[in-house]
């Protein structure tokens, strides 16, 4: 079922919207959560909480053309909140790895959701930067830092060698760092 039809089900308060969403995106949402939490049971809880949140958020939102990104953004928030609320020091190895990588190119005082305006501005800047890159570079970057794909997974997805994927990510992080510095950020 396409995203637009699923959103229609949400809008008409048809509960089958959740089962259709789960069928289409459940595995991916769980995978994203598990990469942050490294806990399959918690990841499943995250997934279910995502559907509840989506039910509350659609309407007024109507993510007809970007349902997956809408849902996965919720999942990411929920997963990170779980870590924070549990005051857990346990982080998945993947999450730690990505945090280290992002530390190369994002400001040390990167704003979070509590600084919504600043966070949004930085997100917009990063989006603008990514749009100046080739489609290949965009895909590799987003698969890595949004989807939490491993280097291996990205290599298989794209057909690039692992070394090339690593190189592309390194270059993109380096160029993002330079772009942010030019915009006045301290990186």
């Amino acid at each position: 079922m396409d995203d637009s039809r699923i959103v229609e089900l949400f809008l008409s308060r048809d509960e089958s919207a959740v089962s259709h969403t789960a069928g289409k995106y459940g595995t991916k949402l769980r995978a994203i959560a598990n990469r942050i939490l490294d806990d399959p049971a918690a990841a499943e809880e995250c997934e279910n909480d995502t559907y509840l949140a989506a039910w509350d958020l659609i309407p007024p939102n109507e993510p007809r053309t970007y349902l997956f990104s809408f849902l996965s953004k919720i999942t990411r928030h929920i997963a990170l909140d779980m870590i924070r609320k549990r005051n857990s020091s346990k982080r998945s190895a993947v999450f730690c790895e990505l945090t280290d990588e992002m530390a190369e190119c994002l400001p040390a005082d990167t704003p979070g959701v509590e600084d919504a305006v600043e966070a949004e501005a930085l997100s917009a800047l990063i989006s603008a930067f990514l749009k100046t890159r080739s489609e290949e570079q965009q895909i590799v970057f987003v698969r890595r830092y949004w989807h939490f794909d491993s280097i291996d997974e990205i290599a298989k997805l794209t057909g690039f060698s692992k070394s090339k994927v690593k190189m592309m990510l390194s270059r993109t992080r380096r160029d993002l760092r330079e772009r942010l510095r030019k915009e006045g950020y301290t990186v």
Partner: protein, 235 residues
Amino acid sequence: MKNEKWIDVIGGIDPNLVESAEKASGNDAVSSRKTRKFTGFKRIAVIAVAVILTVGGLLMLNANVRAAVLGLFVYQDEAGYQRVHFEGSDADVDIHDVTIGYIPEGFAARESTEEDWDDEEMNPDGLEYDSRIRQVLLVNEDDVGLSAYNLLNNYSPEIVININRAGEIDWGYDRDAYEMTYESTINGMEAFIIHQVDGIENTTIQFSDDKITVNVWGIGMTMDEVIKVAENISW
């Protein structure tokens, strides 16, 4: 604790970017280009040759090796990276990344032997011995080889030059591009060095004693800087 708020910021990027990446699939691979990685033995040997040949008087190689650098040209590869390529005499193009380095203390150069090919550490891929391939290794007094990766990362060369030479080679593989990548530091900058050898159809790999080709590629350097480095290579 490191700042984990990157996840919120990345989470707020344009959803169209996320959707595009989500739709990328293996069936429509972003890159259809085949690559085969050099690993282990060949990687060690190729880099080792380069380092040795750039350091005058430190050769244990055939004294007839001569470089005939007639010129250089700049081209752009498939990934959009600009490269400078030196062409030796009328040799067919042989593309290598260029690294300038030095032999670390305690190591010396020697030409590889058939026994090296039988060594699992030297040749983890179990490649078949090919007498036409002449390669040089950097070894210490215990005859333990120095891997290219360690060389680049532990000895921090200024820039590393990689020059390869051997007889005409038919690798016996499909005529695909070969690629290997190393991380290193070049002039204080993070860098990757890619060694790429085109397939025989387009770029016949011709090696002989008097033909050497060098490819200079500097990450984060301007083309002028790259050319300056290449022009200052001493033979």
